[in-house]
């Protein structure tokens, strides 16, 4: 998000889900779309099978989409900037760029042109192990397509160079003019139902709603006026820094609403140590999850089926959530809990319904101004929607970029923080699977979902398995410098030799006990996609 915001001025999906169907060529990278955004994958698969669209898949794993790919670039985990810069270099070299778009709509192109020169197909192959001819084919496919769309997810961002990798993708879209038109764009797929909304609503340390800045006096004044209080001008801490702060004793109290850092954060043993030092840990949740087990106070809240409100999906569409059933026992809506806590601290909040809150959001948030409950009753509206008669915005950056001109950014390949060695010879990469969801507090309490994937597993390449005497279904101990877990071996060719994959949903084999808390310096995103591990067959 930070990367796209720097390049274009807005960190959200540029185009729409339906609009993807008009694309002639997809570049999908760091997104196992059929498993993590299945319905978006249907749009892509239909375009390929029914309209002849091409698919360039860049993914270290042999995921389902590989069956639909025209070319599959299997990069080594943690080498994305190298192959993306390689594509840009070939496109410039073969004069496949959209010079008009570059000169009229963007700035700083020359610097990038200079910087990517060294990313020749040979050099890229030496870093990524992607054959040079595949890279050339991919560059031609993407650049020559009428409308080409980039889709990415956390396979791109969960690296210490995640922000720069996103900027590289933005560079790629800009040199070919694949922005601001149907079927084009740079489209980050958000993993959870309301990641986009939580960001839009200012649940970020440096931003109010609609990304107004805490550190900007004018922006802050606006909220001081709206809320009638003086506000702290210093941007706050990101999750990893908050956890660090708890460990260091500078953070004394932590409120957690519907999150589970004891599953989702890197290096869990360290997280546990840090959280245990807090004077006060309050958890609002629907289940007694791994984090709630450590809490001083647990407040029971409602599921989506028990409340009114809105979610904002990955294409910036704000849609209604409606109450279908009553909450069990004394469980309350999270907004009611927040109101109760605020008023215990003397705030005097008077919201009677979720709609009262949306009215206030409309007033203080320019991009949500025209998004009222009345208007999104039947179908949602995509922000920005600045007025009550504005239809919403399916495609961003049509005539100008949100920031004016699109900014080319020089990016360089930097190796992952932790490299394999003799002691820890395997690359571990983590992710999600179709049948589970995030920290699995919900999905592992669903009969059908549990029946499909009841237990944790590690994907191992057959030749690695053979070398270690591992058979499918064997119990395997996987260890990193930070911890070890035991789980079943899933031997198959989804992973390359030397790489293992573990989904992060299973608390009894929580892969984040192994992951490294190395962070992207801009976004503070942990490098979940690469760390070094060793494997041992349990006796």
């Amino acid at each position: 998000m930070a990367g796209l915001a720097a390049s274009f001025g807005s960190g959200a999906m540029t185009n729409s889900i339906t609009d993807l169907g008009q694309s002639d060529c997809f570049l999908i990278t760091g997104s196992n779309t059929t498993e993590n955004h299945p319905v978006i994958a249907t749009v892509v698969k239909r375009a390929i099978t029914q309209r002849g669209a091409k698919l360039i898949l860049a993914d270290p794993r042999n995921i389902e989409l590989a069956k639909f790919a025209t070319v599959h670039l299997r990069q080594k985990p943690g080498t994305d900037i190298a192959w993306i810069n390689g594509l840009i270099n070939i496109i410039i070299d073969e004069d496949l760029l959209d010079s008009k778009f570059v000169s009229e709509r963007t700035e700083n192109f020359e610097a990038v042109k200079e910087a990517v020169k060294k990313y020749t197909p040979e050099y890229v192959e030496s870093i990524t192990s992607i054959p040079g001819e595949d890279l050339i084919e991919a560059a031609r496919l993407y650049a020559k397509a009428g409308a080409a769309s980039i889709l990415y997810a956390m396979g791109i961002t969960q690296h210490i160079t995640g922000t720069d990798a996103v900027k590289s993708l933005a560079n790629l879209a800009m040199i070919t003019g694949n922005i601001g038109k149907p079927g084009t764009g740079v489209n980050p797929l958000r993993g959870q139902n309301n990641v986009q909304g939580a960001c839009d609503m200012g649940c970020l340390p440096g931003n109010f709603t609609a990304y107004l800045q805490v550190a900007n006096e004018e922006h802050r004044r606006k909220f001081e006026d709206a809320w009638g209080v003086e506000l702290n001008p210093n941007p706050g801490l990101t999750i990893p820094r908050i956890i660090e702060g708890a460990g260091a004793g500078t953070i004394k109290a932590l409120l957690v609403m519907g999150e589970n850092p004891m599953m989702s954060d890197p290096d869990l043993s360290h997280v546990e140590h840090c959280l245990s030092k807090l004077d006060l840990l309050v958890v609002q949740d629907i289940f007694l999850n791994e984090t709630a087990l450590l809490a001083d106070v647990v407040l029971p809240s409602c599921t989506w089926a028990e409340k009114e409100g809105t979610f904002t999906n990955t294409e910036r569409r704000v849609q209604m959530v409606r109450k279908a059933v009553s909450a069990p026992g004394e469980a309350r809506n999270d907004w009611e809990i927040l109101k109760l806590l605020a008023n215990k601290m003397g705030a005097g909040w008077k919201y009677a319904t979720a709609k009262d809150v949306m009215d206030e959001i409309n007033n203080v948030t320019a991009s949500y101004k025209g998004i009222t409950y009345e208007r999104i009753g039947k179908t949602g509206i995509q922000w920005p929607c600045p007025t009550l008669d504005h239809p919403g915005t399916p495609i961003l950056h049509g005539i100008t970029f949100t920031r004016g001109k699109g900014l080319f950014s020089v990016t360089e390949y930097v190796p992952a923080a932790e490299q394999t060695d003799e002691q820890f010879p395997f690359v571990l990469t983590t992710g999600r699977i179709l049948y589970q969801y995030h920290t699995a507090t919900m999905s592992r309490r669903s009969l059908g979902l549990v029946s499909r994937t009841p237990e944790a597993f590690v994907e191992i390449h057959p030749s690695d398995a053979k070398e270690l005497g591992i058979k499918p279904g064997d119990e395997i101990e996987v260890s990193s410098r930070r911890g070890s877990i035991t789980l079943k071996a899933d031997v198959g060719k989804r992973v390359e030799k030397g790489v293992v994959f573990i989904p992060f949903h299973y608390s009894e084999a929580a892969v984040n006990r192994l992951t490294i808390a190395a962070l992207d310096p801009v976004a503070d995103i942990p490098e979940y996609k690469v760390c070094a591990v060793k494997l041992r067959k349990c006796a």
């Binding site: 007694l288 029971p300 409340k307 059933v325 059908g448």
Partner: protein, 351 residues
């Protein structure tokens, strides 16, 4: 271009079928094997209409409208043809509506009624096939399948999961995964698109079985709570319990136009899980013990106030939720910023 249907002159654009043009003008032509998102095949032929100058009756779902065409949708000849077609469909299997999960929500049942078919004149097959109930999501009752092929086309053309097809020949024809595999043995990912488009009771939700007929269920349109696609779906409720999640066969809005995945369609039952938290808890003597809301909120309020006084507001932090609503996220950051006085607020967008 213009077409005349049942005496009414209607404008249409090239490429539209007779069925589409009639529908846009509010003229009812029954369909069984047709759905707007898949290619028309004209398999069941209950949509036949009479076209002036044409020798035989034509399937309206597949026949392109032509300029100057004169169409009748409800003549005696048409009704007779539809009756015999539906009678034949009814002999294909055991269409016993008494305990059928789809009774009241069944195209075949509606057609038989609409065409005034008292009792089928022909006998159906003698053998009753066992229902396939081996997975927790979808029950297949091939006794009620009319081989319209909508499930096959939905699997291949809408979801592009490429699992279902016709197997066997002639009267042994069946639809299903390859080699007669059960769903759970195949590459099926349980998106449930087949179940959504099934016009009869051949495919239905296992967990919804005997939990309430469609007519007895409340229907609440909402947004899925799993990934970031934001699929629109209907939660179906009886007696305060979610019985199933459905999407209409046609006419559903963006972004998903009725498609869902296994999580959206079948992953709702955690809502009624016995482990749900129902009371506030406060840790006392090392253990979480039940407390009243007033007690718990009072405890948190006082504790936060004293920490703020002793260490400053920036000693307090909050993690908001990418799973909660916009309204809740807005209030969460407002609580931290305006009431506590810190900007230490973040959520798991990064994780």
């Amino acid at each position: 271009m213009k077409i005349i249907i049942d005496g009414k002159e209607i404008e249409f654009s090239p490429g539209q079928t007779i069925y589409q043009v009639a529908k846009s003008a509010g003229i009812h032509i029954p369909v069984l094997c047709h759905q707007e998102q898949v290619k028309p095949v004209g398999a069941c032929r209950v949509c036949v209409v009479e076209i002036e100058g044409a020798r035989s009756l034509m399937a309206a779902c597949a026949m392109p409208a032509g300029d100057g065409m004169v169409v009748s949708t409800n003549t005696e000849r048409v009704r007779n043809a539809r009756r015999i077609i539906v009678e034949m469909l009814m002999t294909q299997g055991h269409h016993n509506c008494i305990t059928c999960e789809s009774s009241g929500d069944c195209v075949l049942q509606d057609l038989a009624y609409e065409l005034g078919l008292d009792a089928p004149r022909f006998d159906g097959p003698a053998t009753l096939l066992p229902g396939e109930t081996g997975n927790e999501m979808i029950v297949r009752d091939m006794n009620k399948c009319v081989l319209c092929g909508l499930c096959v086309r939905a699997c291949n053309e809408i979801q592009v999961n490429l699992v279902l097809d016709y197997i066997g020949r002639g009267s042994n024809s069946k639809v299903g995964p390859p080699f007669g595999q059960r769903y759970e043995e195949s590459n099926c990912v349980f998106c449930g698109e087949c179940l959504r488009v099934c016009p009869v009771g051949a495919l239905y939700e296992k967990q919804g079985r005997f939990q309430g007929r469609t007519r007895d269920l409340e229907k609440v349109r909402t947004t899925c709570s799993y990934c970031g696609v934001g699929c629109q779906m209907d939660v179906r409720v009886k007696n305060g319990k979610i019985v199933k999640v459905t999407t209409d066969r046609e006419g559903m809005p963006a972004p998903n136009f009725g498609s869902l995945c296994i999580k959206g369609r079948f992953g709702y039952d955690y809502v009624h899980h016995p482990e749900r938290l129902t009371k506030p808890l406060i840790r006392r003597d090392g253990e979480l013990k039940e407390a009243s809301w007033d007690e718990a909120a009072g405890f948190v309020g006082e504790k936060l106030a004293s920490i703020k006084q002793a260490h400053g507001a920036d000693a307090i932090a909050g993690l908001s939720s990418a799973r909660c609503t916009n309204e809740e996220n807005y209030l969460f950051q407002k609580l931290l910023r305006a009431v506590v006085g810190t900007n230490n607020v973040d959520h798991c967008a990064r994780l």
